[in-house]
Amino acid sequence: MLTEFGKIFIFLLLAIGFVGIALFAAKLIRPHRPTKEKLLIYECGENVEGSPWVKFNIRFYVVALIFLIFDVEVVLLFPWALTYQEFGFYGFLVGVIFLLILGLGMAYEWRKGDLNWDRTKPNIPELSKILTNKNVSNVKIDEQIKES
């Protein structure tokens, strides 16, 4: 007899198998005629400039983190809001302290200037440097065309 986990495991296998078989079948059936345009990442968009492996501006992460923190805050505050009345003043106090600490964190970020987008000059990758790099996608694309 299968346990509940066993059933899930079978589902997992089936799911993986489905994807695998579908891709494999497509590979067998489809025609294969690559051109330069077809192999571009955005076939009908702009041409790619440089490698996708560039450093993203750290501020994206900061925003993401702030979002995360306040998101989690909401998760904690919902249950608190439902029950704090049972605990009277102390229950209220706990929530206030929690919010104050979070607020302090927010103020800290603000004061440190982490919320200003143009705080320092970001380190933008230079095209000339990237083009000399062998890993650039355009070069790869050319090679692929040659092979085919």
Binding site: F87, G88, Y90, I101, L104, Y108
Partner: protein, 503 residues
């Protein structure tokens, strides 16, 4: 419920004090962000207050935060006991020493702008350690471990413009997350097995016959990996040398003492509370028959000390050498736990106290010298004995104590460790440890040789430490020499702090 929480708060005053001062430091940093020279003093004041609160707790044995759900037996999430108080005191004292350390360290002085963050992060570490020492609930253990780790990742890479520092931080994060992931996995399996996260409940449940031994062992090993990473036990120690070398030296000293102490406290509590069925009258622990903890601990400790000592042999960077030496010391201390007796525990407590003094001292001298010469390379120590007589003698005493030779306190620490080993009839292990000590002599004495016997090729000015540094070193040196001769006070203190909250 609310009463229980309010009542429990009286037992976590030290942790509360640390949290409050953490907020104060952040606030001060925000409000007076032009002038940050008061921040170290605020953090010192906070530590002193915390220390007093911890001292008040010594002798108290109590559970805090007992959930109401377990109506039958009252086991709390936190345990206040003399053992924990000893380690908390150790952490607080170490932190105070480290704050003074950073005041003198030029690496940190250069970071005037970010001093507030630096101290706030140190406080984060302290909070993590204090909670970790008392935690008797797996969730709390994990949370405090993460708090400690996250703060220390940032601190390790605090000199972000220095390549090695960033590398150190990155490596630290990678290994930290791998091992905390493993630990979390272990915790989830234990929870799955027993349905509880409280160590005391787990202890009583796994004594039953229906437990799958392999699963339990597996999860315990995963827990052990998480802790072993914190105490840098082999083979989970590889991050240590790289991180210790790259981090600012004050943080290296801190990591090597305080966070290791907290890790050991956790390990001892985990084994003693989670796996001990009873303690006999002569102080030996009988463990629940899950797997052979003792053999595992002995193997790991011998591996740790051997790897640490042998790798340290030809290190030319003193910071890196001390990193390896701290790995080796973790091995010795692990042996004290492996005895699985109160006698061994006393040895561990004594060892940590002495280790704190001598390790911080050694790092401090290295820091002072690198302040002047800008290098930690052993060749730059040539002829130091003549150029800086006091620093030379101080470093010599610290190194001799680290080796464990009389008349220093390091000898007493090793002596009690070996007495515990021999008392438990672990003669072979004792001999291996002794041989390791002999190996360690090579690399400690090598520094002395460079200081006193090798003539410097370059002309260098004399190094005269400031009055503050002199006092600091004396504060470390005097106890090392004093306890080397008259060691009853620490032995008695350790003996009185050996009891954990029982099962």
């Amino acid at each position: 419920m609310i009463n229980e929480i309010l009542n429990s708060i009286t037992f976590i005053y030290p942790e509360l004090a640390v949290s409050i001062f953490l907020l104060i430091i952040v606030l001060v940093d925000l409000v007076f962000h032009k002038d940050k020279k008061y921040i170290p003093y605020i953090s010192l004041a906070g530590l002193v207050i915390t220390g007093i609160l911890v001292l008040n707790q010594i002798g108290i044995t109590h559970f805090a935060f007992v959930p109401q759900l377990s109506a039958v037996k009252k086991y709390g999430m936190m345990t206040i006991d003399p053992f924990g108080s000893y380690f908390k005191l150790l952490v607080v004292v170490t932190s105070i020493l480290i704050i003074f350390f950073t005041i003198a360290s030029e690496e940190v002085i250069d970071l005037k702008e970010r001093l507030g963050e630096f101290h706030a992060l140190i406080y984060g570490m302290i909070l993590g350690m204090l909670v970790m020492i008392s935690a008797s609930d797996l969730i709390l253990i994990y949370l405090s471990l993460e708090l400690l780790s996250l703060s220390s990742y940032v601190l390790a890479g605090f000199l972000k413009l220095r390549e090695r520092s960033s590398e150190a931080s990155l490596k630290y994060v990678i290994y930290g997350s791998v091992s905390s992931g493993l630990m979390l996995f272990g915790i989830s399996i234990i929870y799955g097995l027993t349905g509880s996260t409280n160590l005391y409940v787990i202890n009583s449940l796994i004594q039953g016959p229906q437990i799958n031994l392999f699963t339990l062992s597996f999860s315990s090993i995963l827990m052990f990996v998480g802790i072993g990473y914190k105490i840098s036990a082999a083979p989970f120690h590889f991050w240590t040398p790289d991180v210790y070398e790259g981090a600012p030296i004050s943080i290296t000293a801190y990591l090597s003492v305080a966070s290791k102490a907290a890790g050991f406290a956790l390990l001892i509590r985990f084994i003693q509370t989670g796996f001990t069925s009873f303690i006999s009258e002569d102080g030996y622990w009988t463990l629940i028959a899950v797997f052979d903890w003792q053999a595992l601990l002995i193997a790991i400790s011998i591996l740790t000390m051997t790897l640490g000592n042998f790798s340290a042999l030809w290190q030319d960077n003193l910071k890196r050498m001390l990193a390896y030496s701290s790995i080796a010391h973790a091995g010795y201390i692990l042996l004290g736990i492996a005895v699985l007796s109160n006698q061994g525990l006393i040895a561990v407590l004594i060892y940590f106290f002495v280790y704190m003094l001598m390790n911080i001292g050694a790092f401090y001298v290295v820091m002072l010298i690198s302040n002047k010469t800008g290098s930690e390379n052993i060749d730059d120590y040539d002829g130091l004995g003549a150029k800086a007589p006091f620093l030379g003698v101080a470093l010599a005493i610290f190194l001799i104590s680290l080796t464990g030779l009389p008349p220093t306190a390091g000898f007493i620490a090793k002596l009690y460790l070996f007495i515990a080993l021999i008392d438990a009839n672990m003669i072979v292990v004792a001999i291996i440890a002794l041989l390791n000590t002999v190996v360690s002599l090579y690399y400690y004495v090598r520094v002395l040789k460079h200081m006193y016997l090798t003539k410097s090729e370059r002309e260098q000015e004399n190094i005269t430490p400031s009055i503050g540094s002199l006092v600091y070193l004396l504060v470390l040196l005097i106890p090392i020499l004093f306890f080397g001769i008259y060691f009853t006070p620490i032995v008695e203190f350790a003996r009185s702090c050996v009891s954990l909250l029982g099962i």
